[in-house]
Symmetry: C2
Subunit: 396 residues, 2 copies
């Protein structure tokens, strides 16, 4: 497996287009299209929020069928927009499908931006001729920038891997957890590959790899209404199906998603640190996940990270309120390899060395529960002044 | 019912003492004692954190028996201190009990401060003669200050009420959600009354009123290892037992706890606003509580409050991920009386009037679920630059 320069444009079989539609602001790319030359199988992962955006509802209904394109807009989430918002998404994707000469259900949609405003339907429809006419393979270079809201850096990656005696590629782009007002945080991620997989294999491997990558990062714990991750793989009469080929695909996909996840964390609003919270020896997978989430989302833990403050008591406290089974007498906390709490009792440690670990800006916190064999790991960030500044700004 | 000036010292039958023991810092009151002249019934509410401090474990074991005193220290939480920490709490309370001439189990303990350090046992034992010798009714004035960690204002209140043909009083003090490093947030609250109640009535009424007061406030959602609320009521052969007398007691207790809760919120670290999150028409009490908690703890919601940003989409999103049953088509959000989202669709509103509501610094957000008849209300705050500054400081 090789990591290549560039992103979406490195994969055969897809074309792209992006333009300045002026959906909410002028002078920025805010409307784009991914189109595939062949019918694709698709798999998706979506927000579990009970309040979900219109395009999420539309994707859920369509992702199981044949797919030829994904229509994406930034700056407006089309969430909390009622029936009108859903109809708008239907009209927009139907029109794109007609222009591409494919069935209406073959176009998916994703949106990111402010909640509670209707999309400017007319303005977007007027952009469709240019959007479709502009499709090109090289247009893939524009997609990472067109989907950004508060991200400061476009995010893309591509890997090459061998399967069934030839080279395939997987490329992806993502936009992150920039929750700056006026925009609501929405994680969007789009993956394309020229490796043909059966739909059930694609869905299984996508779900599995997302669990430890995109679903294992947190910046502020606020789950959005729009989170959408989609992967497209061309339909074929001879899909990759051998165990070793699927394993090669899975490994490459995991690298793509891991790299995008790390880019998202590093570009989180106002963040200065990337911290891996690793829970070990919990009684169940569910417990391990709950503990990792509680620690990685604790405001007190995250502000301590920001201040290089080795206040490990806050980590023990967060584990304690996670809802998971904890026994204080078997609870231990380590920063990298340095033990601070061992079986419920504090141990002497070298404070300077500990502050040194925190100042590295990339480190690991290990929470050893000592009650079982299950583990879970989450990438988190600190919370800085800038996070508050960014998110306190007016939406008006 | 009348609200009186002052606090603990307004209630007959209790004496108090506080001194500078130098537990962690010099030059501040950090060790204090509440003693009752009569044997008391006690009731308590404690953190539900699986990691709980030694004094919490000690209180849980003793609160059902006769009580004569509460020993309290600030600046060190005696949490995550293993068996040694528990033994220290036992030794300290036994020594105080001996000096008071009461049984060892009759003295409770509460601690607040940094997690993971052993208390300085010898230094504290040496302070005991002065602590007991200093007991006086007027010493009650010192307790609110002695229990503070990062609170900026001592908190106390006292009310007078009529029951069974005479006047009784309930007074209380609390220390709050100051989570400044080097101290872990711990909510401590101590209530004394000269009204005699049976232990079961005391426990029932204390639990009931706490549910809508101390247990319905949040600053950063981090549950501490030390939260402790205790009430002492003298034992008597003729306790208040008539329905109307217990109702009068309950009303007075609710006023005391409500006032202390508001003082805690208003003195929350770096907070500039007090916002009541009121959930209406949820399907169950549990759902109502989960929604109120999710909204009141959302970082995005709280930073928007700080910035006077009427970004109501964040509120709908938090309700959506609360885990409660939500139907977008019946979901509405109001700021005070101004509707912003009605049955899942955004409505036109006067943006200037809305910002005006938020700038009042005390306002209400109503989340109407439209699926049932259950409600819950939580007082919350914004999150400001100062919160981050305070909590990012070194614990060293």
């Amino acid at each position: 497996m090789i990591i290549l320069e560039g992103g979406l444009e490195q994969v055969n079989g897809f074309t792209y287009s992006a333009l300045e539609c002026g959906i909410r602001y002028t002078g920025r790319l805010d409307y784009c299209l991914i189109a595939s030359e062949l019918l694709c199988n698709a798999a998706g992962a979506f927000t579990t929020n009970m309040v979900s955006a219109a395009p999420v509802k539309l994707c859920r209904a369509r992702v199981g069928g044949p797919v030829r394109g994904i229509l994406i807009n930034a700056t407006n989430a089309n969430a909390c927009t009622g029936d009108q918002g859903f109809r708008t998404a239907e009209i927009l994707t139907s029109d794109i499908a007609r222009r591409l000469g494919v069935s209406p259900e073959a176009v998916l949609m994703a949106s990111t931006g402010i909640i509670g405003r209707q999309l400017p339907l007319d303005k977007m429809m007027q952009a469709h001729p240019d959007l479709v006419a502009g499709l090109s393979r090289d247009g893939g270079r524009l997609i990472p920038r067109a989907i950004m809201t508060t991200d400061t850096i476009p995010k893309e990656t591509c890997v090459s891997f061998q399967a069934a005696g030839r080279e395939y590629r997987i490329a992806g782009t993502a936009k992150g957890s920039g929750m700056i007002a006026p925009n609501m945080a929405t994680l969007l991620c789009f993956i394309v590959t020229d490796a043909p997989l059966r739909r059930e294999d694609l869905a299984a491997l996508f779900g599995k790899t997302i669990g430890t990558t995109l679903n294992a990062i947190t910046i502020d714990g606020d789950m959005s209404t729009n989170d959408t991750a989609l992967i497209l793989s061309p339909r074929s009469d001879t899909p990759l199906a051998k165990k070793e080929d699927l394993a090669a695909f899975e490994e490459a996909l995991r690298v793509v998603l891991t790299r995008l996840s790390e880019m998202l964390i590093d570009d989180g609003e106002g963040t200065t640190k990337r911290v891996r919270i690793t829970v070990k020896n919990a009684k169940s997978d569910h417990d391990a996940s709950r503990i990792a989430r509680a620690v990685s989302q604790s405001l007190l833990v995250k502000t301590a990270f920001f201040g290089n403050d080795p206040n490990w008591g806050r980590i023990a406290a967060a584990a304690g309120y996670s809802g998971a089974e904890i026994n204080e007498r078997t609870l231990s906390v380590l920063f990298d390899d340095m033990p601070l709490l061992v079986n419920g009792a504090p141990v002497e440690f070298d404070r300077e060395a500990l502050v040194g670990i925190m100042k590295k800006n990339i480190f690991e916190v290990v929470v050893d529960i000592g009650l079982g064999t299950c583990g879970h790991s989450i990438l988190t960030t600190d919370i800085s002044f800038d996070y508050v500044r960014i998110n306190a700004e007016y939406s008006t």
